[in-house]
């Protein structure tokens, strides 16, 4: 009896394998195929929508599901314009990582042609082929860092800062709620993707600012008698010695309607710079005004700081009046002094818009920022979109290639400024996900692609977290969460001083 079962199993395996081969032949168009395939004259509907996207060499495989989850199976064949082919079949397109990397490397600067065949109710259908472009520009960063948080209201819950290997699907925790129970932490920031300089903030009881230089953590209390709160929304100076921060008080109010859920606002906000060598705060009267200065970012050469500013309003009642202008102020890293004048690059009140979260590219060519109808916290604004300013000409344009009807925000550049990552709520309006897109030397931006996962529909369908604060990381982040626990619960903080305070 056992023998017969064995024979039947082997026969079934061979039969399946043979059918796969024959189907593969059909897809290749070699004329050897014998499985009847119905041609469908439209592109396949896949999740995530990777049709026509541009990817870097060595990115994790663009696995995808067929949108219709009632299919019996699918066959996908990828052929490179410069040679090579790979194949996947099963419930979803799950490519071998090594084969995929080999294929993308072989086709750098070329394109990949995807042929998708789907079996449903015993019939195979082949859809129109689609292309994915492999950029000439490399993305050499090891991966991404981001925070995952429940898209809730005022309770953070099970927060975690993670890092993700972009070459594979592996994710590693940097700091999670289990390491520092009951604490809220945010705004992890590396210096131009280099994690040898790292900062993050912890709010509430036992709060503080963590500065990690070359693996050594220092927890500082950035609130002083001269500043209203601890620093947040940090950004490193290219030299790696200074950190620009906003000092603010963030609040939320909640809508009664069915559209936008939350309005986030700040009751005050100023910008300051921390010298991490001396733990001195550098203040400027131009950035310590009654206006709300927020989201500082050093320019690529480190000689100026971009930030946003809005007039004080009676929030939350006047939440619609919060309109941020995008400004720039000089900074001299040698003397640690701010400039004497402020340039207004984009005037919020004059244009009835709000310009926030300026992020200059590291090559000094572009400035990416968020534009929304109001407010200074774009991720909560449904109409927040990404815009791009050409720093050579000062001209701006909306990045229609990447924007959607929902919020786009939290953008950051990779080291060679050819790629950027941003968060978007386009899928469901609530659970923010990460997208990557490329930009060439002329400012042409590609269609963005959702951060790949091994089984995208299962992963994103079951994920109850929203992503925020994504950034590229040059190497894997080394962070001692045990040490962070000791520092947080010992509550010993290095107190900062105000520089040149008389």
């Amino acid at each position: 009896m056992r023998r017969y079962i064995y024979i039947i199993c082997v026969w079934l395996l061979l039969a399946c394998s043979n059918q796969g081969d024959r189907l593969r032949d059909s897809l290749l168009g070699g004329g050897r195929g014998t499985v009847p395939v119905i041609q469908v004259d439209r592109l396949p509907e896949i999740y995530p929508d990777y049709i026509g996207v541009t990817i870097p060499v060595d990115i994790a495989p663009l696995n995808f599901n067929f949108a219709d989850d009632t299919i019996d199976g699918m066959e996908v064949m990828i052929r490179g314009s410069k040679g090579g082919e790979i194949h996947a079949n099963g419930d979803w397109a799950d490519f071998d990582i090594d084969d995929w990397h080999e294929l993308t490397a072989q086709n750098q600067g070329g394109k990949l042609l995807f042929s998708v065949c789907v079996e449903k109710e015993g019939k195979w259908q082949q859809y129109k082929d689609f292309e994915v472009y492999v950029s000439q520009d490399r993305l050499d960063e090891w991966g991404l860092t981001y925070r995952r948080i429940k898209p809730g209201y005022e309770v953070g819950g099970d927060i975690g800062i993670y890092q993700r290997d972009l070459n594979s699907f592996d994710e590693y925790a940097i700091l999670t709620e289990t390491a520092v129970p009951g604490r809220c932490f945010n705004c992890h920031t590396a210096n131009r993707t280099n994690p040898s300089r790292l900062t993050l903030q912890m709010r509430g009881e036992g709060g503080g600012t963590m500065i990690q230089r070359d693996g050594r953590q220092t927890w500082v209390e950035t609130k002083t008698d001269s500043t209203k709160a601890a620093g947040s929304y940090s950004y490193w100076h290219p030299d790696g010695d200074y950190v620009a921060m906003a000092v603010n008080s963030v609040h939320q109010s909640f809508f009664t309607g069915t559209g936008q859920r939350i309005e986030v606002y700040h009751k005050f906000s100023n910008v300051e710079v921390l010298d991490t060598r001396t733990n001195e705060l550098i203040l400027s009267p131009l950035l310590q005004t009654d206006d709300l200065e927020i989201f500082p970012a050093f320019s690529a050469d480190g000689q100026s700081i971009y930030y946003s500013t809005s007039k004080p309003c009676r929030v939350p009642a006047e939440y619609e009046k919060v309109k941020c202008s995008l400004c720039r102020i000089g900074f001299d890293a040698k003397t640690g002094r701010f400039g004497e004048t402020v340039d207004t690059l984009l005037n919020g009140p004059a244009t009835d818009r709000s310009y926030v979260l300026a992020r200059p590219s590291y090559d000094g060519r572009w400035l990416m920022y968020c534009v929304s109808s109001r407010g200074n916290f774009p991720v909560s604004q449904n109409d927040a979109d990404l815009w791009l300013m050409d720093l050579k000409t000062g001209e701006s344009r909306e990045l229609k290639e990447v924007n959607s009807a929902q919020s786009e925000s939290y953008h950051n550049w990779n080291g060679n400024s050819r790629w950027f990552v941003f968060s978007s709520k386009r899928d469901d309006g609530m659970y923010t996900k990460l997208y990557l897109a490329s930009i060439d030397e002329k400012g042409r931006v590609s269609k963005p692609f959702l951060l790949p996962q091994r089984h995208p529909r299962k992963y994103y369908g079951e994920l109850m977290d929203a992503y925020n604060c994504p950034d590229f990381t040059k190497t894997r982040v080394s962070f001692d969460a045990h040490e962070a626990y000791r520092q947080v619960f010992d509550n010993r903080r290095v107190r900062v001083r105000i520089k040149n305070k008389e």
């Binding site: 099970d158 129970p181 939350p316 009642a317």
Partner: protein, 489 residues
């Protein structure tokens, strides 16, 4: 006593223990079972299992949650608990000291009076004892392998096993204790970078609040009264709440919220609100509080009033306040309902997919799934369709400081929303806004649906008009006190 034991056998007493434990939970503390059940959502998936067993103590945790899901059916939950207690007692039997075997279950019962003690602790203890029995004839050298494996599956409760093995085999085998400690320290150093040492040593799954330990205070009467009120609210047993409120009073906003909601549901708020303790301006709705219990009655009141977004917010924040990071079946279900009412079908589907993987929420989830995107079905649903009519029709920012106005606007959005009217009038009284109360009495007359003006309101009005008390009227008494306070200000 020895004669009794000899006569009826040791099993007889064990069965009696089981019956006692069953009755204790099923008759005495069903609300405690409901409380435990609502702070987890056990999923029947391989991923859920592997996620649990990927950390030390994970198997005990998974088994504990497996049992707790059956608390949804109270008698079944009580029965499983009784079996667990009996198992513990039987494992503690030592022939010469039979009656001492009842002490551990009784101690455990007392320990579980702290509602943050999770069932994974007794499960881990029972399994540690069971393994000790199984390993009775196995040489102690096997502990080189057994200790790390058991630590990973059951957590630090395995110390119990280690100690018993040392007692069994003699002090020269004290090295097993050193080995257990070494295993924990190695796990801390190499495998658990996100776990503080205290968590590694004491376990992550035994207690709901990380880095804390059981209070050893037994069953606190007032705390369990509040848990009972919430349980009654969850099960919409409004008559029981009002009846119980007349017998036991706990002077907290939570208690006031529960009682007032029950009164409103019975349309007795206008008449009897001040027959019961009122905590102050937070007696109808509590402000946001960062814990896993306080906001529940307010969330339930929001939902029934038609303040759908606020109900969703309070439920969401309640769920995120579960400090061991678990989901809540109760909260997830209500969040999904709010999303359905708001037409947020994609996010509702996410919650529903989760509930479909559970045992007791699956049927509801499948029914809810059939509604997604089906406007006709939702609009004709007795609850969701009604919510759509009751909810705010305009978009503006919620303000707790102006909660009376929020109720007023809600009523104006739909004048059939009598509960909103009752809450509106009640909140003005709580706030001491007698002018507003007088001003809007016309609404009560016109829209309140009362055959005659509620006695409470009549007393309050009389008190306001004549500026003196109405004897025997708690309503008027409260109004009088508030007027006195106002004039003093």
């Amino acid at each position: 006593m020895r004669m009794v034991v000899a006569k009826y056998g040791t099993w007889g007493l064990s069965v009696l223990l089981g019956i006692g434990i069953f009755l204790f939970w099923y008759v005495g503390y069903p609300h405690a079972l409901s409380y435990q059940e609502q702070y987890q959502l056990f999923l029947w998936t391989g991923d859920y299992f592997w996620e649990r067993v990927s950390v030390p103590g994970g198997l005990a945790d998974w088994l504990g949650e497996f049992v707790v899901q059956f608390y949804y059916v109270e008698w079944l939950g009580a029965l499983l608990l009784a079996m667990l207690y009996v198992a513990l007692q039987r494992l503690c039997v030592v022939r010469r000291f039979y009656l001492l075997s009842f002490l551990p279950p009784l101690f455990l019962l007392w320990l579980m009076g702290d509602p943050s003690v999770l069932l994974s602790l007794p499960v881990a203890i029972v399994l540690s004892l069971a393994v000790f029995r199984l390993m009775w004839h196995v040489p102690v050298s096997a502990d080189l392998l057994a200790v790390p494996v058991l630590y990973w599956l059951l957590g630090p409760a395995v110390w119990l096993y280690v100690v018993l093995r040392i007692v069994q085999w003699g002090w020269k085998h004290l090295w097993t204790a050193g080995w257990m400690l070494a295993v924990q320290l190695m796990a801390y150093a190499f495998i658990l970078p996100q776990w503080p040492l205290q968590t590694v040593l004491a376990g992550a799954g035994y207690y709901r609040i990380p880095l804390h330990f059981p209070s050893l205070s037994g069953f606190d009467k007032e705390m369990y009264e509040l848990i009972r009120q919430d349980y009654l609210v969850r099960n919409e047993r409004w008559d029981n709440i009002v009846k119980r409120a007349g017998e036991v009073q706990v002077k907290t906003p939570f208690w006031s919220n529960c009682v007032n909601l029950a009164l409103a549901e019975k349309r007795l708020l206008a008449d009897r609100m001040f027959d019961f303790y009122q905590s102050g301006e937070d007696a109808l709705i509590m402000p946001r509080t960062r814990d896993l219990t306080s906001m529940l009655p307010s969330a339930e009141a929001f939902w029934r009033l038609g303040m759908v977004n606020s109900a969703q917010r309070y439920m969401f924040d309640t769920q995120e306040s579960i400090l061991n990071g678990r989901k809540s079946g109760r909260c997830t279900k209500r969040i999904a309902e709010c999303m359905i009412v708001n037409g947020h079908y994609q996010t509702a589907a996410k919650q529903i997919d989760l509930l479909k993987k559970s045992l007791f929420y699956r049927a509801w989830a499948e029914e809810a799934e059939s509604m997604l995107g089906n406007e006709v079905k939702i609009n004709s649903h007795p609850v969701y369709g009604r919510m759509r009519k009751l909810r705010y029709q305009e978009n503006f920012l919620y303000s707790y400081e102006e909660i009376d106005k929020m109720f007023g606007l809600l009523f104006m959005a739909n004048q059939e929303n009598r509960m909103a009217l009752d809450y509106f009038m009640g909140q003005m009284l709580l706030k001491g806004d007698m002018q507003g109360f007088q001003q809007y009495m016309g609404w009560v007359q016109q829209y309140g649906g009362y055959r005659q003006m509620p006695l409470g309101y009549q007393d309050a009005m009389q008190c306001i008009r004549v500026q003196s008390n109405v004897s025997g009227s708690p309503y008027a008494g409260y109004v009088r006190r508030m007027m006195g306070r106002r004039s003093a200000e």
